[in-house]
Point group: C2
C-alpha cells in the first residue's frame, strides 16, 4: 500500500485548492507553490469549504489535519514529497516549464500527477528526465468531494507508477479509473465538451434559457447519471429485450439531424453576454460562496443517500462513501471515553487558549 | 386549476406504462389502448415498480389508486378523457395515424400530449381537426419518478392549452419546462444525443469500457447534474470572476479537436456486439427487474436528500419532492385516529378476506 505522508501542490486555483483540501483533510502535510499574490487567501477559502463539508460527512471522525505551508519556489515545495500534484493553468508551454522544474527537484521516486483537463501525459513528459513516475491524474471540481480521478499514463510511465498512483489516490478516498489509451481530454471532458457545445447552440438559437436547460438536466437525466451511468441506464430502458434491443432502437437516430455537433458555435461577445446575463438571472440571488455551500451539501446528501442503498452496503459513489468515512474515522485521533467525558463536563478555565 | 380525473394512455411500453403508473398513483382513472398481446402484463410490471416506489416515498400517504382499464379501440379509450397521452413507437407514420384516430374520437376540450422523443408538434398535428389542444409533453424514464416534462406546443396549439397542460402535468408532480421554439428532439434529448455519440466513439475506439465510462459519470459530473445543471455548475467554477470568466476560459477549447462530434460512428454489428458484451460484463449480475428497483430506490434517495436541503425547504428536484409528497398525502383517504387504532389492535377474524 502506497502511503502518502508528504505532498506538494503546484498551483492553487479552484482545482489545486481542492487537492490541497482533500490531502490536508486526510492528514497529509502539503507544501504549496503558487506565485499568485492572493493564492493563500483563495486556498484558505477552499479549505474552509472543504473542512465544513468533511465535518458534516465524517460522522466517524477525522484525522488530525495535515499542515499546509507555502513555499517560495517549486524546488522548495517538492523537496521530500511522496506525491506532487500539478494544477497550473491549461497551457502546454506553462505545463512543460512547470513540470521540468518539478522533475529537476523532486525525489526520483516521488509520484507526479498532472490535473490537466486535456493534454496527453506523453506530450507533457517529453522533456522529463524521469517520465516513468509521471501521469495524468484528472479530478473533477469540487476535488475534495467528487471521488472520480481519471488516471492516464503516458508512453514512458512505468506500470509500477500507475499502481502506486492508484493506491495513493484511492487512499485519499478517490475512485480511480485507469485509461490505457491516450486521447486529448480523456473520457469525462469529452462527454462534457459534447454536451457543452450542444448546450451553447441551444442558448444561442434561443431554444431555451440556461435556467431551463439546467432544470431539464437536474429534474431529469442528471439524477439518473448520479447513480448509474449512461449505458446501465439504457440497459434498463431496453427492458426485457436488453442492451442489444436498445442499441437497435437508438441506432438509426444517430444519423438524424438531432444535433448541431458538426458545427462549432461562433464564440463571440454576443454569446458570452447572452449566457452571462441568463446566468445572472438564474443565480445572482446567491453568492458564489453560498452556491458552493449548497452544492457541497447537496453532493454529500446524494452520497449519503446512495450510501444507504442495498441495505447499507451502498451503491456507486455511496458504497465508496461508506468506506471513505470509515477510513477517515480510523485516522481520527483516539480520545479515551474518560477523557471525552472530562472534556465535556470540565468548565473552561479562564484565559484558556481557544482551540480552533 | 386544471383537474384531471379521467385519462387515456395510447401505447403502454416503458414510457406509456410509466405514464399510466404516475396517473393511477395520483388517483386518476386511466383507460389504456395498446394492441400488444402482452401489454397488460408489461404495464402491470411497471405499475408494480411504481407502486413500490410511491409507497416508499409517500410518507404522508397516497390517494386511492386510480383504476386502470383496457380498451379495445382508441375511440373507446379516449371517450370522456380530460387528458390523453400518446406514447406509440417513434415513427412519424405511426404517430400520424394514431393521432388522427385520437383526434376524431376525443372530446374537443381534451388535452392531447405526445411523448415523442423528437418529432415536432407542428409536424404531428398537420392533419388534426383540433390541433389547438395538441402538444408535445416529453417525459424521461422512469416517468413515474423523474419529474421533468418538456412541453412543446406546435404552431396551432392554443396558449390556453399550454397553460392547461402546465397545470395538469404539474398537478401530477411534474416539473414542466415550456419550450416555445420548435426543434427536433427538444433540449434533453439533444444533450443526451451529443453525449451518446461521443460515448459510442469512446467505446468503439477502445478508450474505455461502458463500465468505466459509467463510473466516470456517476462518481463525477453525474452527481453535479443531479442538483445543479451545467451552467450553474460552471458559474461556480468561474469562481469570484463569474460566468463571464468561465466562458472566456472555456471558449477556445471549443475549436480544439476534443470531440469526434463531426463524425457519426458507423453503427454496425461489431459495435452493437461490443457494447452488448461490455454491458453484460457490467450488469448481468442483476436482472432488469433488480436494476429497476435499485434505480428507483436511488432516485427516491437522491430526491429525499435534496428535499432536506436548505433547512428542509428543499433544492431542485428535492423542493418539488416536498410539495409532491404533501400533495399526495392530501389526496390520501382520511382514516380517523380511532379507526386506525381499532384496525391496529383488532385481532383478524378467522376467514376474513385479506386486503391487498
Amino acid at each position: 500500500m502506497t502511503k502518502i505522508t508528504k505532498a506538494a501542490a503546484i498551483g492553487g486555483g479552484v482545482i489545486g485548492g481542492g487537492w490541497i483540501a482533500r490531502l490536508a483533510l486526510n492528514g497529509i502535510d502539503v507544501k504549496v507553490f503558487d506565485p499568485h499574490p492572493e493564492a493563500k487567501r483563495k486556498i484558505d477559502e477552499v479549505i474552509d469549504n472543504a473542512r465544513r463539508a468533511y465535518k458534516r460527512m465524517a460522522v466517524k471522525g477525522l484525522p488530525r489535519e495535515g499542515e499546509v505551508t507555502y513555499s517560495l519556489s517549486i524546488a522548495e515545495a517538492v523537496a521530500g514529497a511522496d506525491l506532487i500534484q500539478e494544477s497550473v493553468p491549461e497551457r502546454l508551454d506553462v505545463k512543460l516549464k512547470t513540470l521540468a522544474e518539478i522533475d529537476a527537484a523532486a525525489p526520483v521516486d516521488a509520484l507526479i500527477g498532472s490535473s490537466t483537463s486535456g493534454f496527453k501525459a506523453t506530450d507533457m513528459a517529453k522533456d522529463l528526465r524521469h517520465p516513468e513516475r509521471f501521469l495524468v491524474a484528472h479530478p473533477f471540481n469540487p476535488v475534495y468531494l467528487l471521488p472520480i480521478n481519471e488516471i492516464v499514463p503516458g508512453e514512458k510511465t512505468s506500470k509500477e507508477a500507475v499502481e502506486r498512483a492508484r493506491e495513493a489516490y484511492t487512499s485519499i478516498g478517490m475512485k480511480c479509473v485507469v485509461l490505457t489509451k491516450e486521447i486529448d481530454a480523456f473520457v469525462g471532458n469529452r462527454l462534457l465538451e459534447a454536451a457543452w457545445r450542444e448546450a451553447l447552440w441551444l442558448i444561442k438559437d434561443g431554444i431555451c434559457t440556461v435556467e431551463e436547460l439546467d432544470d431539464i438536466m437536474r429534474y431529469g437525466f442528471g439524477m439518473r447519471w448520479a447513480q448509474m451511468g449512461m449505458f446501465q441506464t439504457y440497459r434498463i430502458a431496453g427492458g426485457e429485450a436488453g442492451m442489444r434491443h436498445f442499441m437497435a432502437q437508438f441506432g438509426p437516430a444517430l444519423s438524424w439531424p438531432w444535433t448541431k455537433l458538426m458545427d462549432v458555435p461562433e464564440f463571440n461577445d454576443e454569446l458570452v453576454d447572452l449566457v452571462a446575463k441568463q446566468s445572472d438571472d438564474q443565480s445572482s440571488k446567491w453568492s458564489i460562496r453560498e452556491l458552493e455551500r449548497i452544492r457541497d451539501e447537496n453532493l454529500i446528501g446524494i452520497m449519503e443517500a446512495l450510501a444507504k442503498a442495498e441495505n447499507g452496503q451502498g451503491w456507486g459513489a455511496g458504497e465508496l462513501h461508506n468506506s471513505y468515512v470509515t477510513r477517515l474515522g480510523k485516522g481520527a485521533p483516539k480520545i479515551s471515553k474518560a477523557a471525552e467525558k472530562a472534556k465535556a463536563t470540565k468548565p473552561r478555565k479562564v484565559g484558556a487558549k481557544k482551540k480552533g
